[in-house]
């Protein structure tokens, strides 16, 4: 009872603020609604008893990444009108992508057992009132079963950081000369 009330409340908030996020003209308002969406999604993680994921969502997305977003919005002072005009051209393309994505999600939902591999992964429901120690479980799977994808993601991020630094450096040199 309480669980479903919480789920529908926070799910509704997440969807609603996601819609508001893409319709606001002021980029700062969009950022605030994105924060709301992220927090509401975090609560749903918590209801799934994935407390590590919940905290990671807040630290990384709601705090770290959103602080950077806000920083960029403040520094660049994005004018609301210009980007909107640019996006209007891509309306059809955007619609096509939305439909493709929706179709994909539906296929996965309705044919989960026919997919290659083990299909959708459904975890056992943890006992109420006690959270499973899922940071340990996550760490174990990251460093044993999935250690290759994990390392590859790390290398990819490192490459991205190095690339960003190199680009910033070369821009500086151009400014000087």
């Amino acid at each position: 009872m309480l669980d479903s009330v919480l789920f529908y409340t926070f799910g509704g908030v997440a969807v609603l603020s996601a819609a508001l996020m893409i319709t606001r003209r002021d980029p700062l308002h969009s950022a605030v609604f994105l924060i709301t969406t992220l927090l509401a999604t975090g609560e749903i993680f918590l209801q799934l008893r994935a407390d590590f994921l919940f905290v990671a969502q807040i630290i990384l997305y709601a705090c770290g990444i959103m602080v950077l977003f806000l920083f960029v919005i403040m520094l660049v002072r994005v004018d609301a009108a210009v980007p909107q005009m640019r996006f209007r051209v891509q309306k059809l393309g955007a619609l096509a992508v939305v439909f493709a994505l929706g179709f994909e999600v539906l296929v996965i939902l309705f044919s989960a057992d026919k997919l290659p591999g083990e299909g959708l992964f459904v975890q056992e429901i943890a006992a109420a009132g006690k959270l499973p120690p899922n940071s340990e479980a996550l760490a174990r799977s990251l460093f044993t079963t999935y250690s290759l994808p994990f390392e590859m993601a790390g290398v990819l991020l490192l490459v991205a950081i190095v690339g960003a630094v190199v680009m910033a450096k070369s821009r500086n040199r151009m400014d000087e000369s």
Partner: protein, 448 residues
């Protein structure tokens, strides 16, 4: 009718203790914050050989009540071209985040609102940094140049010091091997050493990062008085201002509590494993009795009758509290109270020492310029913090896998981050002396 209220009743039955503690935090914490502010003013006055706010009641012990009332009754002004929604939202976000993170902190083995969080320490940190969004948003929404600069500086500072602080926390988590707040303290009890002795560099880095995070001096570029007048809260008046202040102060207490939990043994008494330090259990009641005696001594010296009566009341309160603290030491049957009561005492004492250091620094050292702040963060703090994490990891390996003596392993490994820090400082000094370009960059466009 009754059936409709059944879920509510069930909720209250299951969660009454947590609910009650939450309400206590909501109601009592603003009062605590007000007194922390008063004590800080007293400390500042003491450092300037003055005596701080004095008139009316002795040492202005009722001042926070008056200030709270004044802030509450002040008119509310919203700047005309402010973004109303975000302006309204920002202080609330800060306060809610700060109070939520307080709820997950364990003030003693029994005094904790959210008990069963496996990732408790991460939750506290997450909520603490979520509050910072309020500062940025508020600074931006009030649409005022000073605040924009304040918010921008704050963001840059947050980004650079959160990384160093996070790595410092990681070094303590490596030693404890858990993220649960109680388990961290219990691990310190089991290992027989507070983690400050195993990972001292981590503690020092976290000290710097926590001063930066709580916007205290050396890092208070957000609110440095001569420039962006009051930083992120210059446009906030009255009750909104007090919300901002509450959040800031709560944040200060939160970082102090994190440092206490991770490095200073949480609620553990000093030498909690050593039987011959048992007499330390008598210390809390004796200290509070001494405070009461001091009140009685001062009561005779007050010029007005009402003032000395007030001092007598304070003395009586002190003696009563001391009596409560003496109960578990005096009577064997009440021994079960000992960890809870005295744990809270030791924890709050350690947090208090931290807060005293914060106030102390405020008058002792000048602030960084913005360029210096960035350079200290990125060039020195973060590399040393990374080296420290590696060093602690290797020390743990040497202890558990290679079978070294623990103190020897940690002593040797802690040497490396220190050496790196010394090298970086030297390099930095040489570079600053060598080129005039860096000196030109020191006076940056944000003006430090």
């Amino acid at each position: 009718m009754n059936a409709a209220f059944y879920p509510v009743r069930q909720f209250i039955q299951d969660w009454w203790l947590e609910f009650f503690s939450g309400v206590v935090i909501l109601v009592a914490f603003p009062l605590v914050v007000a007194y922390v502010a008063l004590v800080e003013r007293k400390i500042l006055a003491d450092k300037q050989t003055g005596s701080g706010p004095l008139p009316l009641e002795p040492h202005r012990t009722l001042q926070p009540r008056a200030e709270g009332l004044r802030l509450f009754l002040k008119g509310d002004i919203v700047p005309p071209n402010a973004d109303k929604l975000i302006f309204w939202l920002a202080p609330i976000l800060s306060v809610v985040a700060a109070l939520t993170s307080l709820g997950a902190i364990a003030f003693g083995p029994a005094v904790q609102v959210a008990r069963d969080i496996n990732v408790g320490i991460l939750f506290v940190i997450a909520m603490g940094s979520l509050g910072f969004l309020g500062v940025i948003l508020g600074g931006w929404a009030s649409n005022c140049q000073n605040l924009n600069i304040g918010a921008m500086r704050g963001t840059a500072k947050l980004v650079s010091y959160e990384v160093g602080g996070g790595l410092a926390i990681l070094s303590a988590l490596l030693v404890s091997g858990t993220l649960n707040i109680r388990a961290i303290v219990e691990a310190q009890q089991r290992s027989g050493a507070w983690f400050i002795f195993l990972a001292p560099i981590g503690f020092l880095i976290y000290l710097v990062a926590s001063i930066a995070q709580s916007k205290r001096i050396r890092f208070d570029l957000l609110e440095q008085r001569p420039e962006p007048v009051s930083g992120d809260k210059v446009e906030y008046v009255g009750f909104r201002w007090s919300l901002c202040f509450l959040a800031e102060c709560a944040n200060r207490i939160v970082v102090a509590s994190i440092a206490t939990t991770l490095f200073l043994g949480g609620w553990l008494r000093p030498f909690s494993n050593e039987p011959w330090f048992y007499w330390l259990d008598y210390l809390p009641p004796i200290l509070i009795v001494l405070l009461g005696v001091c009140c009685i001594y001062r009561a005779g010296k007050q010029p007005v009758l009402a003032q000395s009566l007030w001092m007598w009341v304070l003395a009586l309160v002190c003696l009563c509290v001391a009596g409560v603290f003496a109960l578990p030491v005096a009577a064997v049957s009440l021994q079960f109270l000992l960890p809870g009561l005295h744990g809270a005492f030791w924890f709050l004492l350690k947090v208090g020492i931290f807060l005293y250091i914060f106030a102390w620094l405020r008058l002792s050292i000048p602030r960084y310029s913005f360029g210096q702040l960035m350079r200290v963060g990125w060039h020195i703090l973060i590399p040393v913090a990374i080296a420290n994490v590696f060093a602690i990891g290797i020390a743990l390996f040497l202890e558990y896998e290679a079978g070294w003596n623990r103190w020897f392993a940690f002593g040797v490994m802690n040497f490396f981050p220190v050496a790196l820090a010394a090298y970086l400082l030297r390099l930095h000094e040489k570079r600053a002396a060598g080129s005039s370009r860096t000196r030109a960059m020191a006076t940056d466009s944000y003006a430090g």
